[in-house]
Amino acid sequence: MIANPFKRPRKSRRSRPTARTAIRPCAPGTTDERVQAALEVSYARLLMTGAMLLFAFGTIGVRLVDISLLQAAREPQSAHAPRMQELRMDRADVIDRNGVLLATNLETASLFANPRKVMNPDETARQLATALPELREAEVARQLKSNRSFVWLRRNLTPRQQWRVIELGLPGIDFQSAESRVYPNGSLAAHILGFADIDNRGIAGIEKTFDATLRDSAEPLRLTVDMRVQHILRSALIRAKTEFSALGATGIVLDARNGEVVAMTSLPDFDPNDGGNAGDNQKFNRATLGVYELGSTFKIFTAAMALDYGIVTMRDGYDATKPIKISRFTIRDYHAKRRWLSVPEIFMYSSNIGSAKMAEAVGSEAQREFLGRIGMLRPASIELPEVGSPIMPSPWRPVNTMTISYGHGLAVSALQLASGVAAMVNGGVFHKPTLIRRENAEAPQGKRIISAKTSREVRRLMRLVVENGTGRKASAKGYIVGGKTGTADKPKRGGYSRRALISSFVGAFPMTDPRYVVLVKLDEPRGNKSTHGYATGGWVAAPVVKRIIERAAPLLRVHPTDEQSPAVKKELYIALKLEGRQLASF
């Protein structure tokens, strides 16, 4: 049995003298008393020790319960404990109208070194150079010998490159993972997307306009662009640019009903993955930033304006026998007929004289107001930072009214022209061009410019150009293409250059109820054997439009129609030869 150490020894208990006490002759008092005292002391000590232990264990116990149970909620979680959530990158994706990924952030590793921890700089540099051939060994060795504690060796490695470096197992070499912007489609939509710099800040295109949105949102940004059509447009333009040795080429496919840009290309272009190294000529957006005097395509507006204001009807016409001399200009016709021309004929033969007279009859104020309403006098409203301001005459003299009627003296961007033409053919309603896909509910209301009746007449005129006029090469059979050619002399110091042209064609299809507007513009094309040396819109730009429509229409769900069917013929009927007047003019 173990004696209870805490039990108070009873006084009555008889203590036996021990040998030890016996050999202490000098101890005070009797033997019994001394034993008693010693026991008292040891009892007190034991009690103290016991109490202290109890207190310590009690404290630990209380704290244990406190930590493990009561403070469970505040217990620090592992720093990297992931939450159940969607993956979120620094910058949201950009997708096309069908959900194709156009721009995304990917995690990449960047290689850095801590030179103080590198053991053998020369050997390390040699090994790194074998793993990453694009590194220069001498340069790396120099960096590794520096006295700093951090040097970037190479940013944005591919996973394979990273693996090769890891395999070397070099001390003092490490990676920092960062996100970098990737454009899987390369140059395909370069000018629309723009690009982001190394710190993921958008510095051009959509990336710049929606920089804040892309940073804040996890939702991808959906564009109106269809990458399939974009490719068709771009490859057709590349072909034409090479064929006619043009300086540049521009193309736009616009939804005529709501102003959505389905495709837009400006050549030369660049790879947004390496946007920082692109040249200025490559980065220049000829579709929205460049403003040009676009020539005869403006006759669409002149005719629509004159018809809508009731100045002329389809049965009227003007005498185009002689060139007009006004101030220092002489307005003459390229395809001169030297006779009285009806409005459809003026349009079909692209008569400058007829158009000028038509605009003169409308008047400068009305013309200015009309062009203002279809957005020709303001920079195009598009979600891109690269937008050019139109160059217009000031003051707007009668001579300007005349030259602007056939597209000289007012420089606008290709996008402005395309959206203006869309308003002329879609029933007369102007929609601001847009690159951002909206749900049907939030589609902005258009602004009525001309009556539905006038719009129908403009369609007939445009169809006439492709059927019998200067735009015959744009006729994509089955899709009832209509349009207008434009060939403008490029302005040079003190006048116009006869050799440098801006050749364009703006068309729409199907003309019975236009769905899409297609614009092609070539900058300084050179005629070749196949065009008999001509470099005009009808020879170089119209065939490109045909090629684009033939390939893109099935993708855009435009059903081919029999162009010779009575219904189509009736809808697009135009009385070209007018009895009496025609004869009288001769």
């Binding site: 149970l69 395909l188 399939r228 490719h231 089955g478 033939e550 081919p560």
Partner: protein, 114 residues
């Protein structure tokens, strides 16, 4: 009697605390498992994200066109005359209905309808 009830209470308290600790540790373990799963999900999402970018790169129209030119030389862009509608299809069927009725195989349902 007093001692017995005290023992019972102490016993109950002991059982309760053991149960509490047991549940507590189980929760911790599950939390760890959940974190692991979430980490895995995130890793998978990252992988999917990379694959999406890769898919977009591999299916860029330029690339597909080059492949089609090389591997499908007889495939041409659809011409307008190759596109028809369902009415044209029906008239074409009627035009070609010169096969003798006896040889045509009709489903039972078609017979019932007549």
């Amino acid at each position: 009697m007093k001692g017995v009830s005290a023992l019972v209470w102490i016993g109950l308290a002991g059982v309760a605390s053991i149960a509490m600790f047991h549940i507590k540790f189980e929760v911790e373990q599950l939390q760890g498992a959940l974190n692991g799963l979430n980490k895995e999900i995130l890793a998978e999402q990252k992988a999917v994200h990379v694959l999406q970018a890769e898919w977009s790169y591999l299916t860029r129209p330029e690339h597909i066109e080059a492949l089609a030119d090389r591997l499908l030389p007889h495939l041409q862009p659809a011409a307008a005359h190759q596109v028809g509608n369902i009415e044209q299809f029906q008239t074409a069927i009627q035009k070609h209905r010169t096969i003798p009725a006896a040889t045509t195989v009709r489903p039972a349902s078609a017979r019932e309808l007549q």
